[in-house]
């Protein structure tokens, strides 16, 4: 009888973990929540202290994501290893063996060099096979960086919040936890939990600190998003119960990588049928499309933006909308490639319509923030367009011009990042002026370039980034997506390209009405003069503009991060669809 016991050498493990991202992933997610917890014990009158503390928390989170970036290996296409040891480095485990004669044999057991753990996985609700599973790869890292980065800036912009500071800051930090969790979760259930965690703080942030119609906007936001969540939940359950095979003794799972493997036909004997894939894809797509948002699910966005306080608008536009795109890339496509291929044309069409529709609607707005909100609809249309340009040879199932689709995917990701920077900047710029004159009527501005030249210069830069001017971030995403679209559909590509004219139209017209002209036409002119553009505001705008320029001039900085992951994703989707087509052919021939 030999009883084997494992004795972990904790010091060594700790060293390995602190060197590796094992803990880092969880710390990144929960640090803001911890910060929120600590904020609760602050005196509610110590406003400046609390703001400083919350800013520090967001800043540390940002630094941690940078640390994670340090661990990131861009040439590894899969999920990144979080725990990696080689035999030479560490003796992690010792092996005690109780011999038959009662003596104890000690032997060093060494985790071999192959011990690479991709992602953190801990049991959470074992009865349902739900795990606390986190991982990161080239798709989530850029968005993670964006999230923590925009959070810091939005926190810097939060000085304009002037009531219930403590609650605001707590909710803000909770919101950040939810957002970071969404980008790191690899378990579908966990993903859903974080998705909902982010929803509630947002509801209160809009509903309490918002503008005059805040309740309406908050409820509208909530209804739309909840509807999307419900559809997503149905899809989750479809996948969960579809992933089990009792005959083979395979348990149902929420693991996204396993589900993706099943969806792509890489698992023997378990597949999602074509109908399942199509239905699930449609459910997931609507769920995510509401978040993106695309035509015709977009009407919550203008209201939410108009009523939300400035920093929340920044978060909303800069990060939240990205979750929709991320969900489509990370979940909807990998889990149901057949459904995705089936709906690709619709996707691209919706993308193109969103671009044009959003731009036209923006052209008709008189509310500054509403205009920027519609521009978001237009810009996020490019994301959908880029994701969907999957042209398939119907007989073999292989992608035609896969590199163009890869380009579209990359372009879509980049567009998300670029839009995160530029739209956050635009909302911030609107907020700066709103804080002073307390109105947003485009027809009552003018002449700001003369009154606040520094501010106007920065604003023009950021608006040009939104316009898609080369050398600034918006250009790269838009133009790459559009260039990739021709391979898929000529008509839709032309429609999408038409967006460049309209975008120029509404942005330049806005610039003219707000910043140019001889004099300011609206109320509260004295406040404009007495309350100059301060250093805190300037730093937010300057940082955003610098990033817009860096991303625009050297986009490889982001493409380099996501290239391999995207390439392997596209490759596996392509193979997955071909698998499905092959098996369908086999069935057909057998039937004959």
């Amino acid at each position: 009888m030999a009883i084997i016991t494992w004795r972990f050498e904790y010091k060594e493990i700790w060293r390995a973990m602190s060197l590796s991202p094992t803990l880092l992933l969880s710390v990144i997610i929960f640090l803001p929540a911890l910060g929120a917890l600590i904020l609760m014990i602050f005196d509610k009158k110590a406003v400046e202290t609390m703001r400083g503390f919350a800013l520090a928390v967001t800043a540390i989170t940002f630094v941690l994501t940078l640390l994670l970036l340090g661990h990131f290996n861009p040439s590894d296409p899969g999920l990144q290893p979080v725990f990696e040891v080689t035999g030479d480095e560490l003796k992690l485990v010792q092996n005690y063996e109780v011999q038959d004669d009662g003596s104890i044999a000690l032997s060093d057991r060494v985790i071999s060099a192959a011990a690479i753990q991709r992602g953190v996985k801990l049991e959470w609700i074992p009865g349902w096979n739900i795990n606390y599973q986190l991982a990161y790869d080239g798709i989530s890292v850029p968005l993670l960086l964006l999230t923590s980065f925009i959070s810091v800036l939005a926190m810097l912009a939060s000085w304009s919040i002037n009531k219930l500071h403590k609650g605001y800051l707590i909710l803000f930090l909770l919101l950040e936890t939810g957002m970071l969790g969404v980008f790191l979760a690899l378990d579908f259930f966990l993903f859903y939990v974080f998705w909902e965690v982010m929803l509630l703080p947002m509801y209160f942030l809009i509903g309490i600190w918002g503008g005059p119609r805040r309740e309406y906007a908050a409820i509208k936001f909530f209804l739309y998003t909840l509807a999307g969540s419900v559809l997503m939940l149905i899809a989750i359950l479809m996948f969960y119960f579809g992933s089990a095979n009792e005959a083979l003794g395979v348990a149902a799972t929420f693991d996204l990588t396993e589900l993706a493997n099943i969806g792509q036909g890489n698992v023997a004997a378990i597949t999602f049928s074509e109908t399942t894939q199509i239905v699930a894809f449609i459910l997931l797509f609507i769920g995510f499309a509401i978040k993106v948002p695309t035509f015709p699910f977009h009407t919550w966005l203008p209201d939410a933006h108009v009523e939300a306080p400035t920093p929340i608008s920044m978060i909303l536009a800069g990060v939240l909308l990205k979750m929709g795109g991320y969900g489509i890339i990370r979940i909807a496509f990998p889990l149901c490639p057949v459904g995705a291929a089936y709906a690709a044309h619709t996707l691209v069409a919706i993308g193109a319509i969103s671009i044009i529709y959003g731009a036209f609607a923006a052209l008709a707005q008189t509310d500054f923030k509403r205009l920027v909100a519609y521009s978001s609809v237009s810009h996020m249309g490019y994301v959908l367009l880029g994701i969907g340009v999957w042209k398939i040879n119907e007989s073999t199932g292989a992608a035609i011009g896969r590199d163009y689709w890869l380009m579209g995917m990359n372009g879509a990701m980049f567009q998300m990042l670029a839009h995160g920077v530029s739209s956050a900047g635009m909302f911030f710029m609107v907020g700066v002026i709103y804080d002073r004159v307390h109105h947003r009527d485009l027809n009552q501005f003018g002449g700001l370039a003369g009154i606040m030249p520094y501010y106007s210069g920065l604003a023009a830069g950021i608006f040009f980034a939104g316009l898609g001017l080369p050398g600034l971030c918006g250009f790269i995403g838009e133009v790459f997506v559009v260039l990739s679209a021709w391979n898929f559909s000529k008509l839709l590509a032309i429609i999408a390209a038409g967006g460049v004219i309209l975008t120029a139209g509404y942005i330049l017209w806005t610039l003219q009405r707000v910043y140019l002209g001889p004099e300011y036409k609206g109320p509260h002119k004295d406040e404009l003069l007495s309350n100059p553009f301060n250093g805190r505001e300037a730093s937010v705008a300057v940082i955003l503009l610098i990033f817009a320029v860096v991303l625009g001039v050297y986009p490889e900085i982001m493409f380099g991060l996501m290239r391999e992951s995207m390439a392997s994703l596209v490759e596996s989707l392509d193979a997955g669809y071909q698998n499905a087509v092959d098996s369908a052919m086999t069935i057909k021939t057998t039937l004959k």
């Binding site: 460049v500 004219i501 309209l502 003219q512």
Partner: protein, 803 residues
């Protein structure tokens, strides 16, 4: 040669990037420090001046390394890039297939015999005779933008004699204009600049701090963008800088942000350009999807293999487009058909390639203000005059022509014909409007459009060299004229209407005579019988000659010769009209005349520098050095047309006659006033109004595009508000109503039931309270009795069951 490529690219990149650093320094330093000093201007001039020097050094190096082949070969033939040498090997197999090709081949040998004549058509390097292995074009990569699988987008450079020529032209003109602007913009050097064109609500003039530094920072940014455009080694990069020059143009047109007209004109310029860019993007999409690269020249991919650039793909080694049914066969670096991974030949449908060419040309139409997108350029005159001189005559608007020239190998005959006709319509329309314009800058603006039309026409009919030749010469004399007009405007205190001027030559002789140089140049006057003439004559003559050659080959397109010929006369007419109106005759407005003065030397200096260039830069015509340098870059394309000597002579004579006629008419009408122009105006008042209203394009576009897009915008917003939102509200209202029913149901039935149960229980409890005696002994008794009764029940029950 590799070293040369490196040196050239380094030098040109220095010239290219210096203005950008200048921009950064000026924009920040200007805002924080040099608001009221000329420091920003000096930095800008320094940057662009050094850029000019770099360009010249680069040119000299290029010339040295190529043993000044340009000037020797002008005796014999043109050399193209060494890549084409290899073509000779594979030529024979290919050549035999195509009749045209064979003909060309003979041509080549003919010209080889005609050594010492001139260099027409002898572009092919496979003419059978040895040629020096001199590389004249250099390309390479600066850095990667992105790579997707095998697709690759980067920032490249492509340097040939055209690039060098453009660099020198742009930097030289820009330097002059920068210097000129120091004087012209000097009234901005104040804390309280009074803008006479803007009225505040209290009736006074608008006052603002001066923005001297800002002007120069914009100018630097523009120079950076323009040079980047010229240096670009791929069409995508061209597009990038295309947009950047567009935004610089926007910023400069809208420099007087307070003026509604200025900001509107800026918007118009940018948006109209974007309409062109829309086509440009479509062209890019087609090329990108079909060819998989944007590079002009061959390049090394990331595996280290040499891959064909766009030109090589379409034109191969010999300038021929190989067709396979309805498709164009793409070629690899050796001129063989290009195959993809699966081994099948890569082709592009012929019509798609035509569409790509048209798309890219759309961009050129927007940028070069060609018909039908010409409307923005006259409005762009809202910007300060140096801007008009630099951006809206010499460089940016010429970028369209430059691109059409650079992209020439990609244009199929159908595209070229379109280009020719667009140019033809433009040059006529613009010239007719220029005849009736009275604003001095607008006349020049229309003349610019018209001249750009000439260039397009030249390129369209296959006169690649002629078009770009005119581009360079036009840049010099038009910038000169704009600066002169700027000098006039400055001297007349921002008076731009010609009817208020007259006789100014006495007050500002330098301006008047440099202007005269420009006018003669643009009018294309020459001493009959000789080729002693200013630059405009040579270049316009080249275009008209090529057009005549083209018409000679294709008589259907006779208009392509007639219209430019007539317009040559009109051009001479309106340009001299401008000069006579402004400088000759009697002063028409005493007030303006009294206040007028000659500009300071900082402004006259550039005029005097530019004037010789305007006059003699094209000296020698098509045998001259400038043309030879340009012609060295002539692309390998079978579409290139060279006028024969006879046709050249004929066309030259026609053009000269037309120009002289136009000049005489102008002199008689405005110099001598034998007929009062007002009478003619009255006679043709309908036509006059039509022309003054610019053929009513603005109104047409307003009705056709601007208003409909606003209406559609309102519809979209309305759909959101009244359909989507109302739908949502309806859903929510229904939900609320349902929940109200639900509430009633709950309150009435569910709650009722529960209450009933509760009430019954309560009343039972009430009635049972008598048993709650509080007496412990009774409780025990109850228990005992209860147990007994239970037992009895059980007993009875079991009995009942047993029974």
């Amino acid at each position: 040669m590799e070293d040369l490529g490196k040196q050239l690219s380094t030098l040109l990149m220095v010239a290219w990037l210096l203005p950008f650093f200048g921009f950064c320094i000026e924009v920040f330093g200007g805002y924080f420090k040099w608001r009221l000093t000329k420091t920003a201007a000096y930095i800008a001039v320094g940057c662009i001046g050094v850029g000019f020097l770099c360009s010249v050094v680069a040119f000299m190096q290029w010339g040295n390394a190529t043993d000044w082949v340009v000037f020797e070969s002008h005796e014999g033939e043109h050399h193209v890039s060494a890549d084409h040498d290899e073509a000779a090997k594979s030529h024979d197999e290919h050549g035999a297939k195509h009749d045209e090709h064979a003909k060309e081949h003979e041509h080549g040998e003919e010209h080889a015999d005609e050594h010492g004549e001139k260099a027409e058509g002898a572009h092919d390097s496979h003419g059978g005779h040895a040629k020096p292995a001199v590389q004249t074009a250099f390309s390479g990569q600066i850095y990667h933008l992105a790579r997707f699988g095998e697709l690759d987008i980067s920032i490249d450079y492509y340097i040939d004699s055209l690039t060098l020529g453009m660099f020198m032209m742009v930097t030289l003109i820009a330097t002059c204009i920068h210097v000129f602007a120091i004087g012209y913009m000097s009234d901005e050097l104040t804390e309280s600049y009074e803008d006479h064109f803007v009225h505040t609500s209290d009736g006074g003039h608008f006052k603002r701090p001066g923005r001297f530094y800002r002007f120069f920072s914009y100018m630097s940014l523009f120079c950076f963008s323009m040079l980047g455009l010229v240096l670009a080694g791929n069409i995508f990069q061209v597009f990038v800088f295309w947009e950047l020059v567009g935004i610089c143009s926007f910023l400069l047109i809208g420099f007087y942000v307070e003026r509604k007209s200025a900001s509107t004109a800026a918007n118009k310029a940018f948006i109209v350009n974007r309409v062109g860019d829309f086509g440009f993007i479509i062209g890019l999409m087609i090329l990108w999807t079909s060819c998989g690269t944007f590079r002009f020249d061959n390049y090394e991919d990331h595996h280290g293999h040499e891959q064909p650039g766009l030109f090589q793909m379409v034109r191969g080694n010999d300038g021929h487009v190989t067709q396979d049914g309805d498709a164009v066969v793409l070629k690899d670096v050796h001129g063989e058909p290009l195959t993809d991974a699966s081994g099948s030949t890569k082709t592009i449908p012929y019509m798609l390639l035509v569409a790509a060419g048209l798309g890219v040309f759309c961009g050129c139409v927007g940028k070069s203000a060609q018909f039908p997108l010409q409307t923005w350029l006259p409005d762009a005159m809202e910007g300060p005059t140096p801007v008009s001189a630099l951006v809206h005559s010499a460089t940016m608007v010429a970028a369209g022509v430059y691109l059409a020239g650079r992209f020439f190998p990609m244009f199929l005959p159908e595209v070229l014909l379109t280009i020719a006709y667009v140019g033809c319509v433009t040059l006529f329309v613009a010239a007719t409007i220029a005849v009736v314009a009275t604003d001095i800058k607008r006349v020049l603006a229309y003349s610019t459009i018209s001249q750009l039309g000439y260039m397009m026409l030249g390129i369209g009919v296959g006169g690649w060299g002629a078009g770009l030749f005119h581009l360079i010469t036009h840049a010099f004399f038009k910038s000169l004229m704009f600066l002169c007009s700027g000098s006039v405007i400055h001297g007349c205190h921002h008076e731009q209407e010609m009817p208020k001027m007259g006789g100014l030559w006495k007050k500002m002789p330098v301006t008047a005579f440099t202007m005269l140089v420009g006018v003669i140049a643009i009018a294309g006057l020459a001493i009959p019988g000789t080729s002693i003439a200013f630059s405009g004559y040579h270049s316009k003559d080249a275009i008209v000659a090529t057009a005549l050659q083209f018409v000679d080959d294709n008589p259907v397109h006779i208009l392509l010769f007639i219209v430019p010929l007539v317009t040559a006369g009109i051009t001479a007419f309106y340009m001299f009209r401008l000069w006579f109106y402004t400088f000759a005759g009697q002063p028409r407005d005493a007030h303006v005349y009294e206040g007028c003065h000659e500009s300071p030397s900082v402004m006259c200096g550039p005029l005097l520098v530019l004037a010789p260039f305007a006059a003699w830069c094209a000296i020698g015509g098509e045998h001259g050095k400038l043309f030879s340098i340009l012609a060295l870059s002539e692309p390998a394309s079978t579409e290139v047309v060279h006028a024969s000597h006879d046709i050249h002579t004929a066309a030259g004579s026609f053009a000269l006659v037309a120009a002289i006629l136009g000049t005489l008419t102008a002199y008689l009408l405005y110099g001598k006033t034998i007929v009062d122009p007002a009478n003619i105006k009255r006679q043709f008042s309908g036509l006059h109004t039509f022309l003054v209203e610019k053929w009513r394009f603005d109104e047409l576009y307003d009705v056709m595009f601007v208003r409909p897009s606003h209406v559609v915008g309102k519809w979209c917003a309305g759909v959101d508000k009244y359909i989507f939102d109302e739908f949502l509200h309806g859903v929510v209202r229904t939900g609320i109503r349902v929940s109200q029913w639900d509430r009633k149901f709950d309150e009435g039935i569910i709650d009722g039931l529960v209450n009933l149960v509760g009430n019954v229980t309560f009343s039972i409890g009430r009635s049972l309270h008598v048993f709650q005696t509080g007496n412990i002994r009774q409780y025990v008794m109850f228990i005992a009795v209860g147990v007994l009764m239970l037992f009895a029940l059980l007993f009875a029950f079991s009995f009942a069951i047993l029974a």
